[in-house]
């Protein structure tokens, strides 16, 4: 069967199964299990209403538990076992082995670099663009263009930037923009930017910053527009210059949103995989945790160490997780 037809069938089956499940389970609940008639009509209605939320929630909860919650614990278990020994419990051996690997520390160092640089620069650029485009006529077009990379896949962006970083031998016409600009500015010779250890990390980060700035801009520009007009007017009357207005009046009022943007990008950074996988595959000291883990899992087939690396990523994410959950609960009260 052709996959497209299979896909169409799946959509039909999936959608009708969903609707069928919700429709019939509700009918069953109201008509068969707790019918709203007879002696216990009142009690039955109450009981039906107690069960109904769980009917609505069941498919989602089942999928969430199976596809996200269960793997967290299973990965933890796998990280403590050894596949070659038939899954025998080996304690912290996998972690010990991982900590003894040079590549792991390199990945961890790079991940911290990414964590420092990417959210900071994306948020700064986003804020800058949001503020600058606020008052100009063609601001909407500018925003649209800066927002556009959000739609481009990490892999597509990697190709785009690989062309920017392309290097031709000395003397030949450069076809990569960076080298062309570099030589135009008086640079001595062309460089293969992605192979210069340490600095190449920043060339990879540029790709993610390029993608994430649009996200930061959209959210921050909404926040800036939400700043009460009176506070700005009062500042103008008091003789504040535009910079003072921005830094002393607007910024303090949107700090909450800045933190949200920052943490959201931080999570994206922790999971970054495609860019490194496509552009350098961790060569020339550009390894990151997600790619290190993929290497262990599917190239070295070492599920134990791979799981241990995944747990490190989870560990790095968990402060944000806790913080988010606490905020969400606070908001509900």
């Amino acid at each position: 069967m052709h996959p497209a037809i299979q896909g169409l069938l799946t959509i039909i089956i999936g959608v009708s199964a969903c609707i069928g499940y919700f429709y019939f389970s509700n009918i069953f609940l109201d008509k068969v299990l707790f019918p709203a008639r007879g002696r216990h009509a009142g009690r039955n209605i109450n009981r039906a209403n107690m069960v109904r939320p769980w009917l609505f929630l069941f498919p989602a909860l089942a999928a969430l538990s199976l596809y996200l919650a269960y793997p967290v614990f299973e990965t933890l278990r796998l990280s403590l076992t050894d596949r070659r020994l038939d899954g025998a419990f080996v304690g912290l051996d996998n972690y010990r082995q991982m900590f003894s690997e040079q590549k792991f520390w390199e990945a961890l160092r790079n991940n911290f670099l990414w964590l420092l640089v990417v959210p900071a620069l994306s948020t700064t650029f986003g804020l800058l663009v949001a503020q600058l485009t606020d008052r100009i006529k063609w601001g909407a077009v500018a925003k649209s263009i800066i927002f556009m990379p959000m739609a481009i896949s990490f892999v597509g962006a990697s190709v785009i930037w690989k062309l920017v970083y392309d290097a031709r031998p000395e003397g030949a016409d450069q076809i990569g923009m960076l080298n062309a600009v570099y030589i135009f500015m008086g640079g001595d010779t062309s460089h293969t930017w992605l192979t210069i250890p340490f600095w190449n990390n920043f060339f990879l980060m540029a790709v993610l910053i390029w993608i994430q700035t649009g996200f930061a801009m959209v959210i921050l520009s909404a926040a800036l527009r939400g700043v009460p007009e009176e506070t700005i007017e009062a500042a103008i009357v008091d003789g504040a210059n535009p910079f003072q207005i921005f830094f002393k009046i607007k910024m303090p009022q949107i700090v909450g949103t800045i933190v949200v943007v920052w943490t959201t990008i931080t999570i994206t950074v922790l999971k970054v995989f495609d860019i490194v996988f496509a552009m350098t595959n961790g060569q020339w000291e550009t390894q990151v945790l997600a790619n290190y883990m993929y290497d262990k899992l599917f190239r070295a087939s070492d599920w134990g160490v791979g799981s241990a690396a995944a747990m490190i990523i989870m560990l790095l994410v968990s402060p944000i997780l806790v913080w988010n959950v606490r905020n969400a609960r606070k908001e509900m009260k």
Partner: protein, 384 residues
């Protein structure tokens, strides 16, 4: 107020200028790839894409036909032809030319050069030349002509035809295109329904443990999907789903649900309470309320999530690598193909650029058509 009014013009210029710089920074990389996808391999490799937008001046050396091609016309020995036709690689308009490397711009197009006993040579703008001599041309090699030619910008769809044609063994991009579509459409539609019901329960039904469940969803929002890879792959292999479309649809559904539930719940909570309570009083069942009132009203949020999920599944590489692509390679997706091309044909920019743009074009269309919903979704979805 005076000082502000006075500063305004210079500051406004600074603002316009900085925005232009930023926009160019963000636009040029993509534009570069886009332009490159319409150029031939030679063009891409020889000059930067930015030069291709303008007519280019090139200095080339082309040899005229060899003396053995000469004809005797009216008592004169003549060699005729077109220099560009001879060379094949270059095309354009001749501005100046010469016959010696020391003075390559000795003559303008249309002029005749008198080379003494070697003959008289005329080169026209379009590259036609006429080499005339009273005596027979000698030697075995054709006369060298140094040309300064202006080449107009030239673009073609050849790369796209090549990349998308089925029989080209290069990439089978057209197959990958349909595979990607097969992955992303069901993965977008299925989670929406499941999430909508759950979001409604979390927003408008009162039951013990609701707050805890919402916290659970918010927590799962940030769980890295890297953790799910091995346990789920093992699970899929155990229950017999294996690697394939079903597996990838299920995985995308699971990974997309937290955001879907969160987005939809946030939106549904904001719907007017009166409508729902009136409907309840009028005797509508919860199912009817959901289908007839909540779903139509939540259309903007549904659209936002659909766009997110579509972009995410279309652009995804990792989930497809783990859950879909088996060793046969029949189910490969575009992102995977592009990574392959990057590895094996890192230098073939014409194929790489075109393949990447085929893959990027669909999300870009979705993006520009539905930007409004995307922005709305982002604003609702970022955890406040």
């Amino acid at each position: 107020m005076d000082n502000i009014a006075g500063q305004k013009s210079s500051l406004t210029w600074a603002v316009h200028f900085s925005v232009i710089v930023l926009v160019l920074l963000w636009l040029l990389p993509t534009l570069g790839l886009f332009v490159s996808s319409f150029r031939s391999a030679d063009q891409i490799a020889s000059t930067g894409w930015w030069k291709s937008l303008f007519a280019q001046e090139q200095n080339v050396v082309i040899r005229a036909e060899k003396p053995d091609q000469q004809k005797l016309i009216d008592g004169l020995y003549v060699i005729e032809g077109n220099l560009f036709a001879q060379d094949g690689a270059v095309e354009g308009d001749v501005s100046v030319w010469g016959t010696s490397s020391k003075d390559i711009s000795a003559y303008a197009a249309g002029e005749t050069a008198d080379l003494g006993e070697k003959g008289r040579l005329t080169v026209e703008v379009n590259g036609d030349y006429r080499f005339v001599n009273d005596t027979e041309f000698a030697g075995s090699r054709g006369q060298r002509v140094f040309l300064t030619a202006t080449t107009p910008p030239s673009f073609s769809f050849t790369n796209y035809k090549h990349v998308l044609s089925k029989d080209s063994g290069t990439s089978s991009m057209s197959k990958a295109f349909f595979n990607t579509l097969t992955v992303s459409i069901p993965s977008t539609i299925i989670p929406i329904l499941i999430a909508a019901f759950a979001a409604y329960a979390l927003a408008w039904m009162d039951f013990p443990g609701r707050a805890l469940l919402i916290a659970f969803v918010v927590g799962l929002l940030v769980v890295p999907l890297q953790l799910a890879l091995i346990p789920l792959l093992k699970l899929h292999l155990q229950v017999g789903i294996g690697k394939g479309y079903l597996g990838v649809w299920l995985a995308h559904t699971g990974f997309g649900l937290p955001l879907a539930i969160y987005l939809l719940r946030n939106y549904m909570v904001g719907l007017p309470k009166d409508i729902i309570e009136n409907a309840r009083v009028d005797g509508a069942t919860e199912f009817q309320i959901f289908v007839k009132i909540i779903l139509p009203l939540s259309f903007p949020a549904l659209a936002s999530f659909a766009i997110f999920q579509f972009l995410w599944t279309w652009n995804d590489l990792l989930v497809a690598l783990v859950f879909l692509i088996d060793s046969s390679g029949d189910t490969t997706v575009m992102t995977r193909q592009i990574v392959e091309l990057l590895g094996s044909r890192g230098g073939n920019w014409e194929i790489l650029a075109t393949a990447a743009f085929v893959s990027i074009s669909v999300p870009l269309c979705v993006f520009f058509a539905m930007q409004k919903y995307l922005v709305r979704g982002l604003l609702a979805g970022s955890v406040k």
